[in-house]
Symmetry: C2
C-alpha cells in the first residue's frame, strides 16, 4: 500500500501538502493539486483505514452478533444489515454466538476494544434462558451502543427492532378459525426463545377466546427427529384440520406429513408457517406463510445504530421499532 509519505517524497513536497491536496483543501495551488492527484491515481492510493480509525476514534465498522447463520431468517436480517451498512459506508464484522451465552459475551468483549463503533445483535437462546443481561449493560456503559433485533432483552435500555409475533399468530389462528377449522394445532421447535413464547401466546389467545376450541400444542426439541414427532402427534391427535407452525420448518414438515397420511391440503387441513419465500416453494401445495420482512428488520436495525452513532443521542432516549408481519396466502389454506 502506498502512503502519503511515499507520494510526498516522490513529489518533493511535504506530507501535509499531499494530504490537503487529496482532500481538496482550498489552501493548495491548482498545479500542485493536479500533480498530487495524478500520482495518487497512478499508484492507486487509498487512505489507510486503520490510521483514519485511530485518528478519528471511529472505525466505521458495526459488530454483528448473530446466534445462528444457518437460520434463514437471521441470515436474511444479516443481509439487510450488510446492505444498509454498506450504503452508509460502514463495514460489518460478524460473530456467530451459536446460541451460546459464553460465545456471545466473548464476541462482545473481543470487539469492544476499538474494533467497532457499535453492535447489532439478536440474543442467544442460552442467554435468554438464563436471563443474563449484564454483558449488554456493560458494553453500553462503555459507550458502545447496541441495537437488538427479533430476540431482544426487554430489560436492557437500547434501541430495538421487533416483530409483532403475538399479533402474527393471533391473526393467523383467527384466519383458520374463520375458515371453519375446529382442531387447530400449534407446532413449535423454538419454545425457549422469547419470540417462540410470544407466538404461542398469540395462538392461545385466539383459540381460547373462541368457544369450543381447545389448544393443541406440540413442542419439538432441537434434537428430536422432527418429522417423526410430527407424524406421531398427528396420529395421536385425531382430526387435526389446521396447523400454525412457529418456526421455519414445522410448517413444511406438517404439510408433508399430512399428505403422507392421505389428507388433501388445503381441503382437509390448512397449514400456516413462518417460512421464507423460497422455502414456501418446497411444499406442494405452496405453504401459506407469515412473512417477517427480515431484510427490512436488518435495514431498520442498521439505521437506528448508525443514527445513534452519528448523533450521540441520550442513552435513555431509545426507540423500539415494530416491523409488522404479513400473511401471504398461498395454496395451503382455503
Amino acid at each position: 500500500m502506498v502512503t502519503l509519505k511515499q507520494l510526498a517524497k516522490e513529489l518533493n513536497v511535504s506530507i501535509s501538502t499531499v494530504s490537503k491536496a487529496l482532500n481538496n483543501s482550498e489552501e493548495i495551488g491548482e498545479e500542485t493539486v493536479r500533480r498530487v492527484k495524478e500520482l495518487a491515481e497512478l499508484y492507486n492510493y487509498k487512505p489507510n483505514k486503520v490510521a483514519l480509525s485511530l485518528k478519528n476514534n471511529k472505525t466505521k465498522t458495526i459488530g454483528v452478533i448473530i446466534p445462528n447463520i444457518l437460520n434463514r431468517f437471521l441470515a436474511k436480517v444479516l443481509f439487510g444489515i450488510e446492505r444498509e451498512a454498506t450504503k452508509h459506508g460502514y463495514n460489518i464484522i460478524t460473530c456467530i454466538s451459536n446460541e451460546s451465552l459464553e460465545k456471545e459475551k466473548e464476541g462482545l468483549q473481543l470487539l469492544a476494544n476499538g474494533s467497532v463503533d457499535g453492535f447489532i445483535l439478536s440474543v442467544a437462546e442460552e442467554t435468554q434462558m438464563n436471563n443474563e443481561i449484564e454483558h449488554f449493560k456493560k458494553t453500553i456503559s462503555q459507550g458502545l451502543p447496541i441495537v437488538m433485533f427479533d430476540r431482544v432483552a426487554h430489560d436492557v435500555l437500547c434501541d430495538k427492532v421487533i416483530v409483532d409475533d403475538f399479533d402474527a399468530t393471533y391473526n393467523a389462528t383467527k384466519s383458520l378459525i374463520e375458515e371453519g377449522r375446529k382442531q387447530i394445532a400449534f407446532i413449535s421447535n423454538i419454545n425457549d426463545i422469547s419470540v417462540g413464547k410470544l407466538r404461542e401466546r398469540g395462538y392461545n389467545k385466539a383459540i381460547l377466546e373462541t368457544t369450543n376450541l381447545e389448544p393443541l400444542v406440540l413442542k419439538v426439541k432441537k434434537k428430536d427427529d422432527h418429522p417423526k414427532r410430527i407424524k406421531s402427534f398427528f396420529k395421536k391427535t385425531k382430526g387435526i384440520d389446521g396447523v400454525i407452525a412457529a418456526d421455519s420448518s414445522s410448517g413444511i414438515i406438517a404439510i408433508n406429513v399430512a399428505v403422507g397420511f392421505g389428507l388433501k391440503v388445503p381441503k382437509d387441513i390448512s397449514v400456516i408457517g413462518f417460512s421464507s419465500k423460497s422455502e414456501s416453494n418446497h411444499t406442494m401445495p405452496k405453504l401459506t406463510t407469515i412473512r417477517q420482512h427480515a431484510k427490512v428488520i436488518g435495514a431498520h436495525a442498521a439505521q437506528l445504530l448508525i443514527n445513534r452513532m452519528q448523533n450521540t443521542l441520550e442513552d435513555e432516549d431509545v426507540k423500539t421499532k415494530i416491523v409488522k408481519t404479513s400473511l401471504v396466502k398461498n395454496k395451503s389454506t382455503l
Copy 2:
C-alpha cells in the same frame, strides 16, 4: 475505553512502564507490575485494536466476500470460516457480492485499504460469466492473499478449496444406473456457474458411457416458477425414474412433484439432490443427498489463508485442496 496513558497518569509512572508491565516484561519491578495489573483489571483495560493494527501493520482480520448469504451452502461455509478464524484470533469482515461483479470489485477495493490482511471468497456468478479476473490479480499483487472456495477462477494463482463436483454427480448418476433406472434426468438452476457445469458434465459422462441411456437435462432459470417448470418437464418427458438435482432446491421440488403425480418414491422414481441435512428433512421420504461438507471447506479455506498470512510463502507456491463429497443415502433412493 481506558488507555495506557490514563493508567500511567493515575499510577504516576510512564506509559512505557505500564505497557511493559502488562506485557510481562522482565524489565519491570515486581511491585510495579502488581500495581499496574491491578489497576488495569479494575478499569477493564483492553489494548486498543486499531492502534495495534497500525503499529503491526496487521489487522488480524479476514475479508470474506460471499455471493449470497441466503444460499445455505455458502452460509455454512461462512460458519466454518468464522469458527476457524475465531480459533486463531482472527475476526471476519463480510461483504455480500450478491452475485454481482461490480459489488465484488467494490468489496475487494473497499477492504484493500488496510482493513484486512487477506481474503476468502467465492466468485460471483456475473464474474464467472464475464470471465473477469483482473481485480483478483490486482489485489494479490498488492500483497493481499486470496483463498477461493467452491466457485474458483482457475486462471488466478492462489490457494483454493474445491469440491469434487464432477465425481459427485458422476457417482450419484452411476448409483441410479445400478439401481436399474433408465430415464435419469438432470435438473439444475445453477447453469451459469462453474460448479453447475461440472456437475452436468459428471452426469453426462455417466449417462453416455452406459448403453441405451440418453441425457435428459432441465435447466431452470432463477426467475422461473421453479415447481411449475419441473412439473411440465415431468409431463413432457414420460417415464422419468431417476433425478439428479444440481442445486439445493431442485431435488426437494422434484420429490414433491413426483408425489403429486402419484408416483411412489423411491419405488417408481429415485431422487438425489445437493441439499443440506436439515433441508433433506423437508421431504417425505427424506432426500438422498450429496453432502459437500461446507463447514470443512470453510475451515480449510481459513487455514490456508492464515497459514499464508503468517508465513509469507512464495506467491507461486499455491495449494488446491479438494474436499470430497459424500453420498448420504436416505429414503428417496432404493
